[in-house]
Symmetry: C2
Subunit: 680 residues, 2 copies
Amino acid sequence: MAHHTDEELETKEIDTRSFSSSQGQGTNVPYIHKVGVPPKQDLFKEFTRGAKETFLSDDPLRHFKGQSGSRKFILGLQAVFPILEWSQSYNLTKFRGDLIAGLTIASLCIPQDIGYAKLANLKPQYGLYSSFVPPLIYAFMGSSRDIAIGPVAVVSLLLGTLLQNEIDPTKNPAEYLRLAFTATFFAGITQVTLGFLRLGFLIDFLSHAAVVGFMAGAAITIGLQQLKGFLGITNFTKKTDIVSVMKSVFASAHHGWNWQTILIGASFLGFLLFAKYIGKKNRKLFWVPAIAPLISVVLSTIFVYITHADKEGVQIVNHIAKGINPSSVNKIYFTGENLLKGFRIGVVAGIIALTEAVAIGRTFAAMKDYQLDGNKEMVALGAMNVVGSMTSCYVATGSFSRSAVNYMAGCQTAVSNIVMSFVVFLTLEFLTPLFKYTPNAILSAVIISAVLGLIDIEAAVLIWKIDKFDFIACMGAFFGVVFASVEIGLLIAVSISFAKILLQVTRPRTAILGRIPRTKVYRNIQQYPEATKVPGVLIVRVDSAIYFSNSNYIKERILRWLTDEEELLKAAYLPKIQFLIVEMSPVTDIDTSGIRALEELHRSLQKRDVEILNKNYETMVLSMIHTSSCFFSLFLANPGQVVIDKLFASDFANSIGENKIFLTVADAVLTCAPKAVEEV
Amino acid sequence: MAHHTDEELETKEIDTRSFSSSQGQGTNVPYIHKVGVPPKQDLFKEFTRGAKETFLSDDPLRHFKGQSGSRKFILGLQAVFPILEWSQSYNLTKFRGDLIAGLTIASLCIPQDIGYAKLANLKPQYGLYSSFVPPLIYAFMGSSRDIAIGPVAVVSLLLGTLLQNEIDPTKNPAEYLRLAFTATFFAGITQVTLGFLRLGFLIDFLSHAAVVGFMAGAAITIGLQQLKGFLGITNFTKKTDIVSVMKSVFASAHHGWNWQTILIGASFLGFLLFAKYIGKKNRKLFWVPAIAPLISVVLSTIFVYITHADKEGVQIVNHIAKGINPSSVNKIYFTGENLLKGFRIGVVAGIIALTEAVAIGRTFAAMKDYQLDGNKEMVALGAMNVVGSMTSCYVATGSFSRSAVNYMAGCQTAVSNIVMSFVVFLTLEFLTPLFKYTPNAILSAVIISAVLGLIDIEAAVLIWKIDKFDFIACMGAFFGVVFASVEIGLLIAVSISFAKILLQVTRPRTAILGRIPRTKVYRNIQQYPEATKVPGVLIVRVDSAIYFSNSNYIKERILRWLTDEEELLKAAYLPKIQFLIVEMSPVTDIDTSGIRALEELHRSLQKRDVEILNKNYETMVLSMIHTSSCFFSLFLANPGQVVIDKLFASDFANSIGENKIFLTVADAVLTCAPKAVEEV
């Protein structure tokens, strides 16, 4: 008993709110700190707090508090255009970092852009256009310092697939292009809307695991698509699943492959992969893989120009339109059937683009430890795509590979995007004719080497280790993309993610608690095998909020624990259980169904009580002597603020007796079975 | 310091697994019980356990374990037909109870059946048919002892509304009837399937609050529909929303109302309500409201017969077909468009019928304290509707009002349903001609008085008190049904319920913990205003599993708590926070996104640490002296079994240091700020 004296003395001294029922019951029953019943909250306040936590959890208006009108205007401008804020402390040192980073990502983006445009079934210049206007807009409105903006592989593939489901890009190139701009416009609108309504948290519903699987699947699919250019196949399937593509490849094996193309492609792919390997080995040489694509393009172009390999069947880029982005405002469908199609495609592409950009932004913000307002980012990305759709760009977003290069090259601010944009501008104005003899196989090699980085096997292994359900979502997304299509993969990923949430709230865990030897701490006996059960007392912890979706399950599960335990005790001729303590620490909330379930549990226990009274009259009387005021057997330990509020509001607290609710499990055990604890 | 000595001594004595890092650090640092890392579980076992808990949570096969083959067969038969089990202990005393209860509910069900059939736009005999076959089947297969089976108001209304959306019952009565049987067939199939696949938990997704609102809305709608019969209106709208109905009523006011009808209806409604009042006042007189409807029917029929009121425009039932249920197997659509329509309607009606029956079954099972296997119930209800659809019945289920009467009349087993069924059989065979002169107004009065019981204002008030969000779901369902339609009300209820679950997992609560004076217990300082913060330490409790849907929010929220707290301390010139303890007790699970969020949190804190080191070199050095081995500032307290498993699997436990994970918050505080705790 030695180890309790202290606390008992203390609580006796200080607790002026102890229960009347336990007062004057002799020294065996300790005084116990009462469970806090928080003051009743104002309904309106409660509601606005909830709404604020949901939509304004990052408190974006905190800087505006207590400022003068003109200051508020400036702060508002700075909120929309962060460049106004950070440009004030911009200096030459920072510019040197940005210049180098900008030139590096420009050299990487030009060959990628030309290749990605093909994934979207668009002409090469549209890829370059999309690397000119959007990065400029982002530099003014975005708040990430490391992201590199432009077309990316996955979104290009997704857009290409969705668009060609609606319009054939070879038969109706003009209509196809118009639909692409329409989709881009609505992708931007979607992004702005999500950001503006502060619904950014919706993209969190695409789980990390699902994104890993989806990205890997998309990378495989994109790689397979490159077989067309890489092998020089002329008749290639429009489908993206692996079965169709492999059929297409083997069907053309005996006549369609071009050995010159394969030779050029394979040797430069080897070069690119070797450059990648060097960059990985020595992180200081990050610029080697970054400029390798441009070098490959230059070398192969010169090679084809000299050898006239294009006459031998090596497919070349041929023509890239010269000059910067023409306006495309009048090409967007604002009426008719295509408006709807564009809207639907735009929403999907916009959300996937957001997911990628926000993930990149968060990763680098965490690495450099600055805050990123996700919703503001979405507005910036959306605005950039809306403007892009009017200037002949298709959906742009943050690129994983280029952002990493940008970071490693020492970028300081979004100025690196401006530098890149300027280089693309020069390319469009003066250099496009030079790409005429660039072989398509090189672009395929560049894309293959780029998308390999999207396959993150380490992450998949980690997911397998940590959470099997996540792994199912990951593999579902992966196989869905590879064997069916990008959309199906996405659908599978989202469905599995939702199923997981619903399963969690439908079948929460429960645990039997025991006492950790010589402490007053009660823990799961499965996790702590050394923990011992208290004789005559069953302590159950419920590991979830009790809601309508699980209230019946929880009630029945607790009763089953009780039955199981009683059978065990009966078999061992041990005394029956007379007290049920429900540890409520993890029960963060309860609703009306939950309260009803507790009431039903209480009623069932009372029925059992009567039985115990009849059958084991003697033990019951004995236990009553021990426990003073404990008549019924349901005790609650540590209900939280919201739960205790509702227990009182529903009168359940009174119906089980206020003195059956304890601050800790230890207090409850001390009250209902003091002997049992002392004996340990 | 007095109140810690004991535990410190104890833990020193017993803990053989204490951390190497905290050994030999001087007497100030206590030894601490280690967090349990459960033995690695077999993947297959883990998976089967999860599946079992989801689908077989009630362990329906436990009785079969270790039984012989023939015994298993008998047990299996008994599982499908519980009557084989309970009939063995059936006796005359029980039969007396069942006989009285059966006669009482029969007298109540006959007038109700005739009225409810009208709600479903069917002829009166179909209501009676549905009270003959289904209760018989249920008596053999069902396990609830108190439920009274037959047509019910809400399902009749729902079926009528959904069916007449597809086929006009006045223009194509034959086709309409066939579709009704088809829907009934698929309602049964749906119920059997849900039960057989043990997906019964899906109906838990209709929350109690939503059901309360939906039922009340349906009651109002049904009541409004009765105005047709009650006021003797001939041209009545087909829509069920309050606006259309009231328009219809007032449009017919100047020529359509029949005062004789109103007089008869109003006087008998008054009688019924008075009988209800008597039954409520004195619970022993429960039979008064139970037989009042039949008395009203008999009296009013005699009255109309004598006065020839039907010649004055009082509408009467006219003809009810004589004889028991004809076969309807060949009327069910098994092909064509109507198959699909019937299927869709059947699924919805079947699920609503299930919800009602299971709710009733559970309520009475809890009152008499017997177990009810929800999934087995569903199979019984489904089988009964499948057979019903082949014997000219429409969807039957458990009726709230009749089950309550059944219970109060002292029913013992499902034999009361057999008795009722027999009475209905006699009625169909011999008594139907007697109903010829029964005025429709009486049936309307019977229905109005019956559905009034579905409006549970007390429950709504309680919901308002307990959970405002539930109240919104309740009101959404109510107004949806009243102002739009039954389907829309249902849709609103389900959507709000889902939104609630998603919101919970997206924006979980977090709380700052403080120490309850003179204990080692740390609790939410909002709930326990007397709790005090530990200087230099921020203790945050996360109140939810950390999943992809909330991991970013939780990370950012914790960092915001930290920033807010630091600002407060700065303003008060108090020492900075150097330790962050995250209390993980309510964190029941974590997934890969959650682990990533913790890693990012850890990285951000390390960055802060460096800053603190630079800025406040002196205090840092001082605190290092105090805290021995505490370099980085993230501590975790009491992660559960699953969480600790994943922390180790992901290597996060090692990256923050295993000795930063504690059994309790008190242990963590004791390690990182022993002085602070001593000073209290």
